[in-house]
């Protein structure tokens, strides 16, 4: 596994010496920052209105749930934004090495294909985690000026990380199938889009097929995390999808050797 670490470090460094990581992280933080601001504004306006009304009618001020109204929506929004950002992170993983020929160096060095796949996967995952951890600053503002529940925040981040792990694995797989970075990015984006919205179709097909389709829907599994529920069945879904994709990536890398 030491070799995985070398691959990981090289990959990670290459993200941060090129503009890719900075551009993706900055854009993500800007977009999710805008969403956070809008959500918070509407929450504040609504609570003011509630307070006025309560004063007017001599009632008690109704309790407003910031977890439900701001944090949950923020996580749902962020999960959609990552969908657009992650393919940019994963697209170069293998396709770049194939195109530039550096894959020849890796294949003729005394390291296994698993070590290559694992090292690359964790490097992209690290960039992703660095990206979403930037938003901790937004959420901590709420903790400074209010007292939201902590659990839903933790479960939300856990959900984002698990979903990201799955997306990174799928993106890596598609990148291992092509030399073209654009195809790798579009392929990953398209696959995730389908897995995201496939749940809508579950209502129109039979009950058995519907259940399967619903199970495949990424959104379906994420909603619970955003609500603050950590359900092991959702974790199993994301992790098994990630492992399966990594396994296929390994097979793709291995078969590229045989095909030459």
């Amino acid at each position: 596994m030491r070799n995985s670490y070398h691959i990981y470090m090289r990959e990670l460094r290459s993200y941060f010496v090129s503009p890719i990581a900075y551009v993706v992280i900055a854009l993500f933080l800007a977009i999710s920052g805008i969403f956070f601001y809008l959500l918070l504004q509407s929450f504040i306006q609504m609570s003011f209105r509630m307070m006025m009304q309560a004063q007017q009618f001599q009632m008690q001020v109704p309790a407003m749930n910031i977890n439900q109204m701001v944090i949950r929506s923020l996580f749902l929004n962020m999960s959609i934004i990552t969908l657009f950002m992650l393919p940019m992170i994963t697209m170069k993983l293998f396709s770049e090495e194939k195109r530039s020929g550096t894959i020849e160096l890796l294949f003729t060095s005394p390291i296994t294909n698993w070590e290559i796949v694992i090292g690359k996967f964790f490097a992209a995952l690290t960039v992703y985690i660095a990206m979403i951890l930037g938003t901790v600053s937004y959420v901590s503002v709420l903790f400074i000026y209010g007292n939201p529940e902590l659990m839903p925040v933790i479960s939300g981040y856990l959900g984002l990380i698990l979903m990201g792990a799955m997306t990174v694995a799928i993106g890596g797989l598609i990148s291992a199938l092509t030399e073209n970075q654009i195809i790798a990015a579009v392929g990953c984006f398209g696959t995730m889009m389908i897995l995201w919205f496939v749940g809508f179709a579950s209502g129109f097909v039979g009950p058995e097929l519907g259940a399967i389709i619903k199970y495949l829907s990424v959104m379906e599994h994420f909603t619970d995390f955003a609500k603050g529920v950590i359900d092991s069945s959702h974790m199993v879904f994301y992790l098994s999808f990630a492992f399966f994709s990594l396994f296929l990536t390994y097979q793709a890398v291995e078969s590229a050797k045989w095909r030459g």
Binding site: N3, H6, I7, R10, R13, S14, V17, S18, S100, G101, T102, I103, E104, L105, L106, F107, T108, S109, P110, I111, K257, W258, R259, G260
Partner: protein, 313 residues
């Protein structure tokens, strides 16, 4: 050191390498010669465990490439046709990464890194980004990459392609130097390179070995005939007629214009008729300005062997 037996490789229905066998001893520098798409790169990729063979067995440094790829990879340094460089890295961090994945670490890595930088004269650019290097330096960093773990066997795929003449000479010098303590197999389609660096040549065409010998033997003994070139000041028709009459002369061709012309003469090897040629020119009162023997050049042999009309050896 390298033992290839009945190696074949197919890409789909296309046979890139057909039943190739050769043996390379420890310390040899062998040139792998052939036109483009002859199967040189494919053979080299199989030797370096980049891809498996369709048929046949290959062993490098005593290990089979299929059964024991890790042991082979540790002992082989490979410079692909396009040096496998990461443009966003500095030379030093790149070489240190390569060293690490080849199994070096700590002090030994640092020591070998310094040694290889010095050996390939890349020390002056050690902290430059690879993206900003000239083609010559990139090629040398590629060579450094192949050398860093001090492999027993070096496989170099067209090491001098795209370099300027001065750099080509430098790289050839380096290869010669490396040949003193490494087994080297290098591919090329540039012929002088072979005579400059290799002790033995394997000529491959359309996936098959067509000849295998030292460059000297290939250029001289191959045809069983000799060639001389003379420059004569005299009427060309008469000269041609006179030369053709000499016993032992097989063929005469002329070249050039004006009254001074060059004649290429193919002779039987025995008996030596050069004296008779000279005498005939002088006796006729023409001026013999130059006479030299010219063996078939490696280029001509190569063309003969790799084109369809070529002589099978």
């Amino acid at each position: 050191m390298i033992d290839v037996k009945n190696l074949s490789k197919n890409y789909g229905s296309f046979e890139a390498v057909k039943d190739v066998s050769f043996f390379i001893d420890k310390g040899e520098v062998v040139g792998f010669l052939g036109p483009n798409a002859a199967g040189k790169t494919t053979t080299m990729r199989i030797l370096t465990c980049y891809m498996p063979a369709t048929q046949g067995s290959v062993s490098v440094a005593g290990f089979d490439v299929f059964d024991n790829p890790m042991s082979v990879k540790k002992r082989v340094g490979y410079l692909p046709e396009h040096p496998p460089l990461y443009p966003e890295m500095t030379v030093e961090s790149y070489l240190s990464f390569v060293g690490k994945i080849k199994g070096l670490s700590g002090k030994i890595l640092k020591m070998k890194l310094d040694k290889v930088l010095e050996r390939t004269s890349t020390a002056e650019v050690r902290s430059n980004l690879i993206a900003n290097l000239s083609k010559g330096f990139k090629q040398r960093v590629g060579l450094a990459q192949a050398l860093i773990h001090d492999p027993e066997v070096l496989v170099l795929d067209e090491p001098t392609v795209g370099l300027d003449p001065k750099q080509i000479i430098e790289v050839r010098e380096l290869i010669k130097e490396l040949g003193e303590d490494h087994t080297i197999i290098l591919s090329t389609h540039i012929l002088p390179e072979v005579s400059a660096t290799c002790g033995r040549v394997i000529i491959i065409n359309k996936g098959k070995i067509v000849a295998e010998d030292t460059p000297e033997n290939l250029t001289s003994g191959l045809q069983g005939q000799e060639r001389i070139e003379i420059e004569v000041d005299g009427p060309s028709k008469k000269v041609l007629a006179a030369l053709s009459k000499i016993k032992g002369v097989l063929k005469v061709s002329e070249d050039g214009d004006g009254s001074i012309k060059r004649y290429k003469i193919e002779l039987e090897k025995e008996p030596d008729v050069r004296k008779a040629v000279a005498a005939s020119v002088v006796n006729n009162g023409w001026g013999l300005l130059e006479m030299k023997s010219s063996g078939l050049s490696l280029e001509e042999i190569f063309l003969q062997l790799t084109t369809d009309e070529g002589v099978e050896v």
